[in-house]
Amino acid sequence: MHSTRQIYTFVIGMTVIVALILAGLSTVLKPIHLTNEAVFNKKAILSAVLPGAKDLTDEQVEEQFKTVEQMVLDYKGAIKTKDEVKKLRNFKDKEGKAEDLDLSKEKKRNEKDRLYPLYKFVTDKNETLFITAVRGSGLWDEIWGYIAIKDDFNTIYGTSFDHKAETPGLGAEIKDNPTFPNSFKGKQLYNKDGEFVSVLVKKGGADKTDKNAVDGISGATVTCDGVTDMLKKGLQYYMPYFDTLKK
């Protein structure tokens, strides 16, 4: 039988050893984790404009991303410089580029205080594309996506979606099933009357001629409604900036 003192010594000793091992390992691997995460995000951004982005190696992703022009906007569509972003977000070792923004923290802010990242990408066919970032809520947790818009500032070129904890086979299909992000191609953000309506993810299937709606995923109504909501709320803050470019 162990005495109470022995138990305490054992437990405290064990905790200290375990804590040291894990803290050490975590510190050593932290830089690798951060690079991995950054490459993963860049891949997601590129997926909206390059169909084969998933199969690119890490180096290719970095190389490709160098051609992407980055901007940070506020809700009125004014461009924020790197120094302004740095000051607003208290960045110490980050440059204040669009990729440095933590979008899940931005989402928690008041809409008027948020900063909106925007990426400008030129394809090999010399088309200029604007990649916007949107973030919303699915059924269980956050969902987010990158929407590439053509330079008529109306037609969607491509999208990529991801999620934190949607149900595999149902809500998670927004990412896993390529048909869903592909169905947004060619859809339009404005309706015939020139009104901003964004794209509706329609339960039960959308009319093929409808330029402002795509088919929903059966069994994932809440996630699909989340996507609709996310697109409408997220994209409207990019419109003021696009309006200035139209002129």
Binding site: V11, V18, I21, L22, L25, S26, L29, H33, N36, P168
Partner: protein, 243 residues
Amino acid sequence: MAETAIQEKEPLFSSKERKLLTDPLSTNNPVTVQVLGICSALAVTTLFYKALVMSVAVVFVCAFANLITSLIRAHIPKQVRMIVQLVIIATLVTIVELVLKALNYPIYKELSVFIGLIITNCIIMGRLEAFALSNKPWRSFLDGIGNGLGYGFILLVVAFFREIFGKGTLFAGSPAELKLIGKSIPSENIEYMINTAATSGWESWFSWYANNNLMVLPASAMFVIGIVIWVQRSWNKDLVDIS
């Protein structure tokens, strides 16, 4: 001294030790016979590669948790032994998580909470409590590997059928992805070995084929595991009504 004398007599892999490795693969399988660890078996078996990574993680955690517990078994105070076991498992799982996050970030994202949930996998806790606390380190280590493999084997069998019939691929998510059957989309460089969209040639015989969406849902894993249990028990009648 007596202990070393016995060890010298016994080879490293006597028939007893071999049984520790092979039993959990068949007659004492943790999933199909003891019916443990079902939760994660349903969740991570949609893709073969995912199941493979999960299996390797469980073998590692199970083997080393058994080994460490067995090494310090004389010093673990009885009153807190469960908590000590839990801390050992949790530490190993966190190590797996950190290493996986550094080695392969996409698959880490894919498995997300299920790596963390290895902590609550009752197979591991059960082996520590039932075996490692009362056996020598080497035997415990083998027992851990055996049970990890027994779990992993079933996981791979289930994932094999679910991925082929649910998605028409094998090893999706890894660089060695095989696209077996489905509609090829040339404009996006998606090409399947059996192209169901083909209009001529032998491939057009498969134009009726569509992926079975049920196989992607967790419920199908239940059916597949059920079938595996059924096959195993009609093979080995001794197992009937054991659990």
